[in-house]
Amino acid sequence: MPVDAEAVVVSNTRLPGGYSVLEFRAPELAALAEPGQFVMVRASRCDAPLLRRPYSIFDLVRDPDGRPAGFTLLNKRVGVGSGLLYDAAPGAHFCCLGPLGRPFTLVAPPVEAWMVAGGVGLAPFATLAPALAARGVATTLFYGGRTSADIFCLDRFERHGVRVVTATEDGSLGERGRVTVPLQAALEAVPPERAVMVYACGPEPMLKAVADLATRFGRPSEVSMERHMGCGLGGCYSCVVRVKTQDGGSRYARTCIEGPVLRGDEVLWE
């Protein structure tokens, strides 16, 4: 059951390239969240924009006693709603409805976890990584962006023992090219007997490429889909993605309740 938390901005750390990390105090919501879930956010003091905006939960924040205290969002400024978040001052209130959606499936050793992120697609992995680390799963993050400015927060992952592989299209950090280049190399290199689960979040062409690669190499994958969402609860049918049905056909699935995490081989890519 989601809650609608009146979350207070604790801090808002600007990063290069229009990104920022916002920390919210919202213990009741934080206590419920699982890796890959999201919240629907709305500024409490403004009537505009009308609709809430979906955001992946980035870190979970605990108070000194280790109790859930809040969460962070990794926000990229692209329009009105994300602009309000980008500009939010500590003390500002936002209504956060959540946690929502189907989380990632957590694998267990000996299965390895490969997380593939593009841009703000990094967000859900900040909670997935520690959850997997807690289970002793060996994890790798493949993290791609246009330039080095799209790559950040690596320390959060390295802290949990995550192996990090970066790629930038302009070669300014890590390998030059799309993140699928090092991913494909790794898929080619890993022996079949080592079980690997591929998780992906990022722009849709990237998700498709990752899912296709995983399928090609016989690896299961889970992708976190982004759609325009009206309600986040299955009420409006705005957030659909085409998925395959068992009878060989297809149907529109609501990513807010059947997703945002879907099996990569289940999505009918356009």
Binding site: H228, C231, G235, C236, S238, V241
Partner: protein, 308 residues
Amino acid sequence: MGVDLSVQLGPLRLKTPLMSASGCFGYGVEYAGVVDLASLGAVVVKGLFLNERDGHPPPRIVETPSGMLNAIGLQGIGVHRFVREKMPELRQLGATVIVNVCGTTVDEYVEVSKVLSDTEGVAALELNISCPNIKEGGISFGCSLAGTRRVVSAVRRATRLPIIPKLTPNVTDVASFAAAAEEAGADAVSLVNTFLAMAIDVEARRPKLSNGMGGLSGPAIRPIAVRMVYECARLVKIPVIGIGGIVSAADVLEFLIAGATAVQVGTANFVDPFIWGKLEAGLRSYLERHGIPRVADLVGSLQTGSAR
């Protein structure tokens, strides 16, 4: 002071005048976790055709100033799966269920209505003759008086359930449609459905919705909807259900005072799924503050000394 929120909607008694608007509350069951469905006046479920429907490709919604456009295209599981898969849970949750009935032909409206008449727990049928988002049926009936009469009287003959044609605002004189529906045997009318509208991505020079056009809902349309409800309530004797842009108890009151016996809340449920308790509390406190014992006493209480 205990106030009485119940209202009489033709043959139907509702606990409160607050209903979910079709298409904005899934099949109701999606919201079982956030709201006690039995506490609503009625749960109006998503529009249903006889068969399953795919709907339009995404993007299906886009935000506009104080509103949104949708072109869902009536994706749905069809009336048979609804009866089988959703009704048992709705019954068990004690919801007063009103089904939004769609059709591409008069026969389909009749067929769907018959299936639902035989289903335990369906309280009434709302006839969707006003969806702007599909080419066939829907709006083509709702934009002609003859079409409206045809659908309503055919369904009237097919069912004993209360029937509530849902009117489109995309017409010159909406009250004449309410009157036509009344004549053809409707128990109530509901209005408004969405306004046909369009938003363009100027960078791509393409419509923002995959379907090109969509329906405008939300606070933006409320003043027009209130006017239309006022016009209809003055003309017809059957109850009118007010819909359009309600986000607060004050907005509910606006519709009731204009002449609506009950209201539906659509877009606002997306913004705040916990809105229902707030609306009910707001109604109660207004009635208490004004010393009005029953919400029904407010209906049509607008003073129009200087109004036209």
